[in-house]
Amino acid sequence: RTSPFFSSKPTNPTNNHKIRSYTWHEFGKFVDATRGNNINGISELKKYFHRFGYLKMDNLNFTDLFDDHLEHALIKYQEKLGLSVTGKLDENTVSQIISPRCGVSDSAPKFMHAKRH
């Protein structure tokens, strides 16, 4: 949880400071990664997409292969958040991914129903 940080290019011209994301800063190295590549650590990105409702898989042993599932999740993410739909880990998309956010899932969330005891 110390340096190095991933410093993203701002997508919003009114918000021109650099984002230092500790939790997801490793995702910065995935910029320009493409389908078919085996990339060390990209399973963590799959976990991210699973957590926030973009990657639905029964088997949660995520591999480091940039596969069809990840590409599909990426496209759904780009569509949902109003990004250019490229299916690629371009800089804008990665910048959005590492931005601080709410922990509630994005996709038809059932998260946060609780029973009263």
């Binding site: 984002i19 939790t23 109003g82 601080p100 956010r101 509630v104 994005d106 038809a108 969330p109 946060m112």
Partner: protein, 195 residues
Amino acid sequence: YAFFSGRPRWSRSIPITLTYAFSPENVITSLSKSEIKDAFRRAFSHWASVIPVTFLESKDYGFADIKIGFYKGDHGDGEPFDGVLGVLAHAFSPETGRFHLDAAETWAVDFDRKKSDEAIDLESVATHEIGHLLGLAHTSVQEAVMFPSLRPREKKVDLKIDDIKGIQALYGSNPNFNDQARSESDTSISNGVAL
């Protein structure tokens, strides 16, 4: 705008009064209690101005409808916080009322005083999470309060048309809400950006 699965909302009859209280176990030290309470009071007022719901602070945490707490790491709901930045907060859908914030963040109520590059505006996050407590899920509209991400030192507290339409679909309109004025305000903002 979007709703949670099954479109849950607070089911009591309108007009609704919801009480909120702060956990006695709060561990945030960078802001005073009064600063925190003022930020939440403003956040609740944004929603109360557009729907027939009133929010009242209560000292009785156990019986409050909305229970607010700052927690670090694993705090018992299966969604542990992750330290500085990353996930900032989460809230439960109606009618559970739990509202958790990551105590590890550099929470701020005034960016002129809090110079950190990692400062997160408390009122903005509170306004967003109250949307969840009332039944709104995340929207695709980037300018809206219910968009899922918030950058450090960004302030986003004014409800946009998308937020207002969504919440009024659940609860109806506050009789004192001036739809025309809000629409014109949003339009002028859009025109300003375009220019």
